[in-house]
């Protein structure tokens, strides 16, 4: 158990160090997210009183699209130089390789969100609201679930033709329940509705995250074998 945890930390820190050195994932993700928000502004020219009900949708489309862009590269980079093979040669549980990659993708996604969220509030003139901590927890849960599904499928599509196309095609249908929950909860919190409404959706997100992280952890060893 202790050994597994230290291997997990080693896998995770390696990914983070690589990302910090190249920023090849973070920067394109952030710029693309910003781009989506900008296009929304042109696509829906909402009057100020209606903007609240659309914010959740806009935010989650920007986030999920940009995360897909980032995560699609997460195993491709390792494959290029054969370093994925070297990692697989080590006597390490395949599920840990998944967890390490999931957490590093999640970390990069969170950094991107820290950069991107101020623009959401700025662009659409959203005032501060009291339930801000709950807003953050929705962001965390929704992002984590998305990273879990996308990390699994980025490994699934690694050896498929058209993998850039197949990744979103596989991820989005599976993520639909969570996107419903995340959008509903976000909108309801931002527009100051009773928190109990958001709680129901937060519960859904928690269930979704637990189920898919467990499933992906268990199935990952089959995904990586040739």
């Amino acid at each position: 158990m202790k050994k597994a945890f230290s291997q997990f930390v080693i896998l995770y820190t390696k990914d983070i160090r690589l990302e910090m050195r190249s920023k090849e994932t973070l920067l394109p993700m952030f710029v693309f997210g910003l781009l989506v928000l900008t296009i929304f502004n042109f696509a829906f020219d909402f009057p100020p009183d209606q903007i609240m009900s659309a914010t959740g949708g806009m935010l989650w489309i920007a986030l999920t699209f940009s995360m897909t862009l980032g995560i699609s590269r997460s195993f491709g980079l390792e494959k290029e130089y054969g370093s994925l093979d070297s990692t697989l040669l080590a006597p390490v549980d395949r599920g840990l390789i998944f967890l390490g990659k999931l957490l590093s993708n999640f970390t990069v996604a969170l950094i991107q969100e820290v950069l991107l969220l101020p623009f959401l509030f700025l662009f659409f003139n959203i005032p501060m609201f009291p339930a801000f901590p709950w807003f953050i927890s929705v962001i965390l849960l929704g992002t984590f679930g998305f990273c879990a599904v996308a990390t699994l499928f980025s490994a699934v599509t690694l050896n498929a033709r058209m993998r850039e196309v197949m990744l979103p095609l596989l991820v989005f249908p599976i993520y639909i329940p969570a996107v419903i929950g995340a959008v509903r909860a976000t909108t309801s919190i931002i527009s100051g509705e009773p928190l109990a409404w958001a709680f129901a959706w937060i519960r859904l997100l928690i269930v979704f995250d637990i189920i898919f992280v467990t499933l992906a952890y268990l199935l990952f060893e089959y995904v990586l074998e040739e």
Partner: protein, 230 residues
């Protein structure tokens, strides 16, 4: 071998006869629904198709789990055959639904929980089929699609629950008395007959499709041997 093809011939012909009887029952015997009129008869195709689709997707799940556990290609063939049939019947549901909805509710499409869930199901399994087309190596295709087959099926109940909650917050057109509620006894008989015919259709399609897939992989195996002798 001869015996087997005889069974298949008998099955196929009895299916044909059963389908003709079903058409007769649905179009001429079943009573006309009072408020919806004749268009309601599409219900006898719409609902059984949905059941077949769901059963087929369950078979994909079963085949996927069994393939991972045993690595027997038999189960991979079961899964892919059912995925194709499931998507086909899911398409029937999505086409007959709006045909039924238009005269009754006045709209082609509504984001009601069942229709929406069916659409999401269609999307999940359509991408499952697409993925299979993009992986060349049969061994890897089998194992990777088994993973997708399992993840996809586990998602189904979550999709259904989330869409139901989502709809209850946003009132949708009220469908006075869902079709199944308080069915006339004659309608019930026709419905269950129709359901049985659709299940038989599924079984026959599944069996034939698996046979085709077996022949396909035999052809690949033979061409491997031919390539060796070259």
């Amino acid at each position: 071998m001869k015996n087997r093809s005889f069974i298949w011939t008998v099955l196929s012909y009895s299916l044909l006869i059963a389908m003709l009887i079903d058409l007769y029952l649905v179009l001429l015997v079943a009573p006309t629904e009072r408020t919806m009129g004749d268009v309601q008869r599409i219900f006898y195709f719409h609902v059984p198709s949905a059941w077949v689709a769901f059963l087929a997707f369950f078979t994909v799940f079963f085949g996927s789990v069994a393939y991972i556990a045993t690595r027997n290609v038999r189960y991979d063939r079961q899964a892919i055959a059912s995925a194709e049939i499931g998507v086909a019947f899911c398409t029937i549901v999505l086409v007959t639904g709006p045909i039924w909805a238009r005269p009754v509710w006045g709209i082609w499409w509504t984001w009601d929980p069942r229709l929406t869930s069916t659409l999401v199901l269609w999307l999940i399994y359509a991408s499952y089929l697409l993925l299979r087309g993009f992986i060349e190596d049969p061994g890897r295709r089998a194992i990777l699609s088994a993973v997708v087959g399992i993840v996809g099926f586990v998602d189904v109940p979550i999709v259904y629950m989330s869409i139901r909650w989502w709809r209850t917050q946003h009132p949708s057109p009220v469908f006075a008395g869902g079709a199944e509620s308080g069915l006339d006894p004659d309608m019930k008989i026709v419905f269950f007959f129709s359901l049985a015919v659709f299940m038989l259709l599924y079984a026959v399609l599944q069996g034939l499709s698996i046979q085709i897939k077996r022949v396909e992989s035999d052809v690949v195996e033979l061409s491997r041997r031919a390539a060796e002798k070259e």
